[in-house]
Amino acid sequence: MSCASGLQADCEALLSSFQETDNVRFEVFSGLWRDRRFHTIFHGQTRPLEKNKFTQKVLDLAWRYFLPPYTFQIRVGALYLLYGLYSTQLCKPKQKIRIALKEWLEVQRFQQDLINAQHYDAAYIFRKLRLDKAFHFTAMPRLLCFRTKKKVRETELKEEFKELSNRVSKLITNDVLEEMMNVHDHYQKMKCLISTDGSQPDKALSLIKDEFVINIKNMILEYQQWQQDKMKSSSKAKDSDEMTDKREGGTSQDSEGSERANALAKIKYKSYNAVAEASKSRRHRQVKLESSESGSDQGKMKTPRCKRSRERSQLTQKRNSLETKDRRQAIKKEAVTRNRRMPVIAEENSSEEDLPCPKRKRTR
């Protein structure tokens, strides 16, 4: 097993056990950290360069769990993990956590979510990292050096940490539901206006069930619940009844101050997380599209169909950008003959390595 995969195993084991507690308190996390004596992960390194590189690597790994598509619980766990790793590292000066500009919006939104849901400990820790200047504000998450290094394969991180995603929840988001509701209301009113009795539409115009939006919502929630249960029971051979019990009364360990808010936030995340997440990412994409489309069609009433066609054009755009990969050219260097008078020197066929030590040491 390589060092990188060992590191991933350790981080995921810690995050997994945090996930199992079904709790987002730092108190709980720090207990798990202490049990494993996780700070010793930096021990046994005597060379400073090695130390720096390892620390960069582990911070980079932890950072990846902090961003979507990971669940709220894992993201909070990742924040605590980053805090722990940053604070207990042995480098001087401390290695920094890299934030890319494109991630910043997401990070800020997460901090706002923490504050709104009154997860004060998590919000406090993020604030503390910022005060401690633990971040490098960068262009991209990692350094990019074209193909000069052997291609580093992006390792797949634990699938179970990810927010459940499926086509249904991507298609029908909170936004879409809201819009459907608006369109439906609007439609009802229009029908009333042209009806003989102004307060309700004529029978002949009643072509759609009145509560269909609510029905759709319920069906989606039901589907998600089913999917969640399926996921849990397949990943663990636990009694499913016990799971539901735990889920319903799991907030008892929380500190009193934020208990109620916690419970509320949990209920919210439990029932809406997949829906809410998808809608966010969608909103984000929309903004991007609008800015590149010189802002036409910004009216509030957008029909779902219009949105869908936009999404499709997004997909084709993505495909196009993939194709440019093939067009990448290798850089070739042509040998140019010098026209100045130069000596004839044959290429040395030595396989000798470059001398690592500076000249002054050799000539002494």
């Binding site: 390589s2 503390k128 200047k133 262009a139 850089i331 690592p356």
Partner: protein
């Protein structure tokens, strides 16, 4: 300015090819966007730490004073430390459950068994020193302090490929430049043997050789970024090296679109539109080409070297193999001879002292037949 797209939407770097390089973005606008996104205290490169009292916490998080005070204790780093026993961070404890530590322990044991440790260790120490020698430095003159919000660009500058063995693994140096620095400041900092190359055969008058250093003779150079050649036009004798390329491109309709030229001395890195991770070019001495890759751009941090005068700052270089004198086997070669009646091989390399001792008498008269050329070793800048 040429090549600047300006707008905020184009200033957020995104991948064009995942994990490889970004789309084109304007460096200055990117920096401005970060600056706008962060409060002043977070940008500051010096000064007192921001307010961390309970009142500040309570206000920012919207919680009560009591909760704020409590948070400080609950979230303390001490919560992560195991108080049970004293430990030496250099030693891996036996009973750890961490996979990382088991792997590291094995690697350390293996390392102890082999002898190469000393050499890799020395090499590593040197790389580390190179990387960190300037960290935390402050200028003597406060006017040279790097301002908050300044951008740091990390550049890999590749050596021209001179050895066959470097064909696949090209050596490079890494430098840090500031967004507000001019392209010419980078150009002047790039050290390359071809600048020291001396053209010509000097066997009859070896003392004249040093007068003909290429850097002084051929001052032209250009950078190429995103369709624009930035030519060094500071000296009247500088030629527009890019003109031939542009004419070639246009005359054959090569499909490279509109290639433009600009003056290197008029542009800072903030003025450029570039892709991070994409290969560009630096060309000097007519045909000495160096690939340049901007691997990273970020805001300056208070732990960085904040002395502006030390930039461009070299933080990594490659040790090139050096040719030694054939006679003393000690000093780096300064001369190379062809058709040398006094030498056992052709070509043959000599340091200055051995070369003169062997090839000239006390009065400086040439002995025997040979052609002599000044030789600049690629490892000169080691």
């Amino acid at each position: 300015m040429a090549g600047s797209s300006g707008g905020a939407s184009g200033a957020v770097p995104e991948y064009e090819v995942p994990e490889l390089h970004t789309r084109v973005f304007h460096v200055g606008s990117f920096g401005a966007l970060w600056k706008r996104s962060l409060p002043g205290a977070e940008l500051a490169v010096q000064g007192a730490a921001a307010e961390d009292g309970a009142a500040a916490v309570a206000e920012e998080l919207g919680c009560g004073l009591e909760t704020a005070a409590e948070l400080r204790a609950v979230c303390s780093i001490d919560m992560l430390k195991s108080p049970d026993k004293e430990e030496d961070p250099e030693i891996i404890s036996e009973d750890s459950s961490l996979v990382t530590l088991r792997i590291r322990k094995k690697a350390l044991e293996r390392r102890e068994e082999t002898i190469i440790v000393d050499r890799t260790c020395r090499q590593e120490t040197f790389t580390y020193e190179m990387e960190s020698h300037a960290i935390g430095k402050r200028p003597k003159d406060p006017a040279d302090l790097i301002e908050e919000g300044e951008l740091f660009l990390t550049l890999n500058i590749f050596y021209p490929v001179i050895f066959q063995k470097h064909k696949d693994h090209k050596p490079y140096q890494t430098v840090l430049v500031l967004g507000s620095q001019k392209l010419t400041e980078l150009r002047d900092s790039i050290s390359c043997v071809s600048d020291l190359q001396m053209g010509g055969e000097f066997s009859s008058h070896p003392d004249q050789a040093p007068e003909h250093i290429s850097k002084d003779l051929y001052k032209s150079a250009f950078f190429y970024f995103e369709g624009i050649f930035y030519n060094d036009r500071r000296h009247s004798e500088c030629r527009d090296l890019s003109r031939t390329i542009i004419e070639w491109s246009e005359s054959h309709d090569r499909g490279y679109g509109n290639l433009q030229t600009a003056k290197m001395e008029d542009y800072t890195f903030n003025d450029l539109s570039i892709k991070v991770g994409f290969p560009y070019l630096f060309c000097h001495q007519g045909d000495c080409e160096h690939i340049i890759i901007i691997t990273d751009i970020r805001l300056v941090h208070q732990d960085d070297c904040l002395d502006r005068t030390l930039y461009p700052l070299q933080i990594k270089k490659h040790w090139l193999w050096t040719r030694k004198c054939f006679v003393c086997k000690m000093y780096t070669a300064r001369w190379v001879t062809n058709e040398d009646s006094l030498a056992p091989e052709d070509p043959c390399f000599f340091c200055d002292v051995c070369f003169r001792m062997l090839h000239y008498d006390a009065e400086g008269n040439k002995l025997g037949e040979f052609l002599a050329y000044p030789y600049v070793d690629p490892g000169t800048f080691n």
